[in-house]
């Protein structure tokens, strides 16, 4: 029986037979269905996924007419990270005119709201000028990154120190205090950048620090949306599952700990999010057919019930993209095609 | 702090040595690496260059001298050293150790 070249979740190549791919697709989908209490992929969808992985071409793409809108997290910092000596505005122009970008995102190299706060006055004139010379919608993006509000970086006791000592009440109190600081910073930065003309604010990698961070972000979004009803808010998640680091936090009477993407989406819609970005993490020691099937299953549950556009997060190590610094094009383009066509994404 | 015209340009025009237009960077290296005060640093650099102290800020002398020594000129002359190559030669000329030069050489 012939074998097909694909990859593991860490990006290394692996050869699988058709039945092995089938088995992995089935198991990946079932895993998501069981954890998220959602429907697994149906037979047609599994078969379509199989075909994508059997295709011998290095790169694959969506069918004509099924193209979607691409949004970018941490847009301008990508150029800085690879040490290309261009300014933020120049990198936005490169995105627009050389990479065919549908949307743009301006960002600070330390991609979190807290470090943006003291330099927001430097970001505003850059945004204002970028808006004069670019055409696609321009977001300002940053991460809520609640971790920065606990010691030794921030003012609140570190729950990571308190929890192992059984100091549950103190850890929860710390999280509650952190939420207040984070909301203040997110609303401040969001306000300043929207007032400078941004089309939208992207809250990226939301809930990386668990339920407290998710709550802070939802509340900040609600405040911004009330203040500016026409503001576009994009919220990208950090993981498929909201960690219950606090455990007893609620938004609109829904407990945040343990929520899966389709449930996260419901609360995002209630808070006023315009574009939602679900995330499915990669399991590095499972194959890509397993990982992509799992990601597609979670994401499909979102898009089926969504009233707002869904842009799945598909960066390194999420959404079926291997966890490696240089994602292979064969793997990434298969994840892209599968997520768009089977999950029926609005963007990614 | 202050805007470009009103702060660095004004100071450079009023009292600056002129960087690589003349010998400002060379005098700066002596302050940085040997903690020399201004008069001593200028004397040292002038001696190394074999010129009078007053010519350290003389464009007429320094442009051609810098070009001849390969220690960088302010204009983008093709074929002439600039950047780390110029600094390698400056370290040799002034008999000083420059951290970036040492690091660069360690990578070769």
């Amino acid at each position: 029986m012939g074998k097909y070249v694909t990859r593991m979740g860490d990006g290394f190549k692996v050869e699988l037979t058709e039945s092995e791919i089938n088995r992995d697709i089935e198991e990946g989908s079932q895993e998501a269905a069981k954890n998220g209490q959602i429907a697994p992929l149906n037979q047609d969808e599994s078969l379509y996924l199989l075909e994508i992985f059997k295709c011998p071409d290095r790169s694959v793409g969506v069918e004509r007419g099924k193209e979607v809108v691409l949004s970018y997290d941490s847009g301008t910092t990508k150029f800085k990270r690879v040490n290309v000596s261009v300014s933020k505005i120049q990198s936005l122009q490169i995105y627009e005119r050389m990479l065919g970008a549908d949307t743009l995102e301006l960002a600070h190299i330390d991609y979190s709201f807290k470090p943006v706060k003291p330099i927001v006055v430097f970001e505003q004139p850059i945004l204002e000028q970028a808006l004069l010379m670019t055409i696609p919608p321009l977001f300002y993006g940053a991460m809520p990154n609640l971790g920065l509000y606990s010691q030794p970086d921030g003012p609140c006791p570190n729950p990571g120190d308190l929890l192992p000592k059984g100091k549950i009440a103190e850890a929860r109190a710390s999280y509650e205090e952190q939420i207040e600081h984070a909301i203040k910073d997110m609303v401040y930065v969001g306000t300043r950048m929207y007032e400078a003309g941004a089309d939208g604010i992207n809250f990226d990698t939301t809930a990386a620090a668990g339920d407290a961070e998710f709550l802070a972000t939802l509340q900040a979004i609600k405040i911004l949306k009330t203040k500016y009803p026409e503001i576009c808010i994009q919220m990208g998640m950090a993981a498929e599952f909201v960690l219950g680091m606090h455990g007893e936090l609620y938004y609109e009477n829904v407990r945040l700990a343990g929520l899966y993407p389709h449930k996260q989406l419901e609360l995002a819609e209630k808070a006023g999010v315009t574009i939602f970005g679900p995330t499915t993490n990669i399991v590095t020691n499972r194959s890509l057919p397993w990982n992509v099937a799992r990601a597609v299953t979670f994401t499909k549950a979102c898009t089926e019930m969504a009233r707002i556009p869904v842009h799945a997060c598909m960066g390194m190590g999420v959404g079926g993209v291997p966890l490696t610094l240089s994602p292979p094009v064969d793997a990434l383009s298969r994840a892209s095609k599968a997520m768009v066509e089977i999950s029926r994404l609005d963007g990614l | 702090m202050g805007d470009a015209f009103g702060m660095p340009i004004a100071h450079i025009m009023a009292a600056g040595m002129g960087g690589i237009r003349t010998a400002g960077d060379l005098v700066a290296w002596m302050q940085m690496t040997r903690r020399m005060k201004i008069a001593e640093a200028k004397r040292y650099v002038a001696d190394k260059l074999g010129i009078e102290v007053i010519d350290l800020i003389n464009e007429d002398v320094m442009y051609s001298l810098r070009g001849d020594l390969g220690i960088g000129v302010v204009t983008g002359d093709p074929g002439r050293a600039s950047g780390i190559i110029a600094k390698c030669k400056i370290a040799e000329l002034l008999e000083i150790e420059i951290n970036s030069v040492n690091y660069f050489k360690s990578l070769l």
Binding site: I89, Q90 | G19, V27, Q31, M32, A41, G83, I90
Partner: protein, 355 residues
């Protein structure tokens, strides 16, 4: 000779000042500095020379040929790409482009750049990026390239940092707790400065500029001196410049000493001795501007402090001459008539080694 001289107030406002009044302002300025710093006043010749510099009719003035000095900066890159708070023009060019423009377009003697938020704490979070940028920039520059950053102890207090805020504790009389908080914060600051400095030295950093040192008082200054001493021991080839935030070290703690000397209340000449003892190669005194007094008064004051520190210092002295220090008016668009007069006076009368 003209009856009145066009000059400015410390906030930049243009005024016309009668000759006699200007002479009185100069005298009062030097007397104020001498009294506060317990240092000699400017001589009559100095005051006359200072008056003549201020009274020159030209829009700008300069030192005579041969008297030029080395000009260092506090993050020159930001005046190109950054925003108004740093005098920035928000040009759409990168940090590296800015530094090269400064070297070749402005004919600067040295260049420097730092993190967007120009403090060690945020720079630490991005150290790989800063190292990479420094390395590629230093390959392209010919003049000495500094990495600049502020110690900025304030970032280590709540709500930004982990330690209790002394400004909250002191009004409640909680002196011991405020002192303890500052000691802990200073220790964390020292660690961050040494970490950032060492990492930059690894990629061949030519010089590091501790800018606006002592802005949070004696603990801020102490942390910097300790970091300088450690860096000089670990990476002696990296030059160190220590620039101050004010003429007087605030005793926010009050009891901190360095090499047996109390830091609180130190004036520039004492600060320079401490910086040199720690291992600094260049010292940058700062003399604050009183916006309600004239430039004449402020400049006489600044020159008095600078002259004395230059005389007593064993290391080169580069007075800080940014907005609102050493006689430069406190306004974003600093008037070039004043800035060039400050330059000339500090170099010719103050005998500065650089600016």
């Amino acid at each position: 000779m003209q009856d009145a001289i066009f000059t400015r107030m410390g906030d930049g406002e243009r005024i016309s000042m009668p000759v006699q009044e200007m002479k009185e302002e100069l005298l009062e300025g030097t007397q104020d500095a001498a009294k506060k710093g317990r240092i000699p006043e400017l001589t009559e010749e100095d005051l006359q020379q200072l008056f003549e510099i201020l009274a020159e009719p030209g829009r700008i003035v300069s030192v005579p040929s041969g008297k030029e000095v080395v000009v260092t900066d506090d993050g020159c890159a930001k005046i190109f790409y950054s925003g108004p708070a740093d005098g920035g023009a928000a040009l759409p060019i990168s940090r590296q482009n800015s530094v090269l423009a400064y070297e070749r377009g402005f004919a600067a003697d040295t260049v420097s750049f730092g993190h967007e938020d120009y403090s060690f704490k945020p720079a630490k979070a991005l150290i790989d990026y800063e190292m990479q940028t420094y390395y590629t920039t230093s390959l392209a520059t010919t003049v000495p390239c500094f990495y600049g950053s502020q110690p900025n102890l304030g970032l280590y207090f709540r709500p930004d940092g982990p330690h209790p805020n002394p400004a909250d504790l002191l009004p409640h009389g909680r002196i011991d707790e405020a002192k303890a908080a500052q000691e802990e914060a200073a220790e964390q600051l020292r660690e961050d400065m040494v970490y950032v400095g060492q990492k930059l030295a690894e990629v061949g950093c030519e010089g590091i500029n501790f800018d606006t040192t002592g802005s949070a008082g004696d603990a801020d200054f102490h942390a910097t001196l300790m970091a300088v001493a450690e860096l000089k021991e670990k990476v002696p080839l990296m030059s160190v410049e220590v620039g101050m935030s004010g003429e007087f070290v605030l005793g926010m703690h009050g009891g901190i000493t360095f090499e047996g000397k109390r830091l609180a209340g130190m004036y520039p000449h004492e600060q320079a001795d401490a910086a040199a003892a720690a291992g600094a190669d260049i010292f940058g005194p700062a003399v604050n501007v009183n916006t309600s007094r004239s430039v004449a008064w402020n400049l006489a004051r600044a020159v008095t402090f600078v002259k004395h520190v230059v005389e007593s210092s064993k290391i080169p002295v580069h007075p800080n001459v940014g907005m609102g220090v050493c006689g430069v008016p406190m306004c974003v668009e600093t008037p070039i008539d004043c800035v060039t007069r400050v330059s000339k006076a500090l170099v010719l009368i103050g005998k500065a080694d650089g600016l």
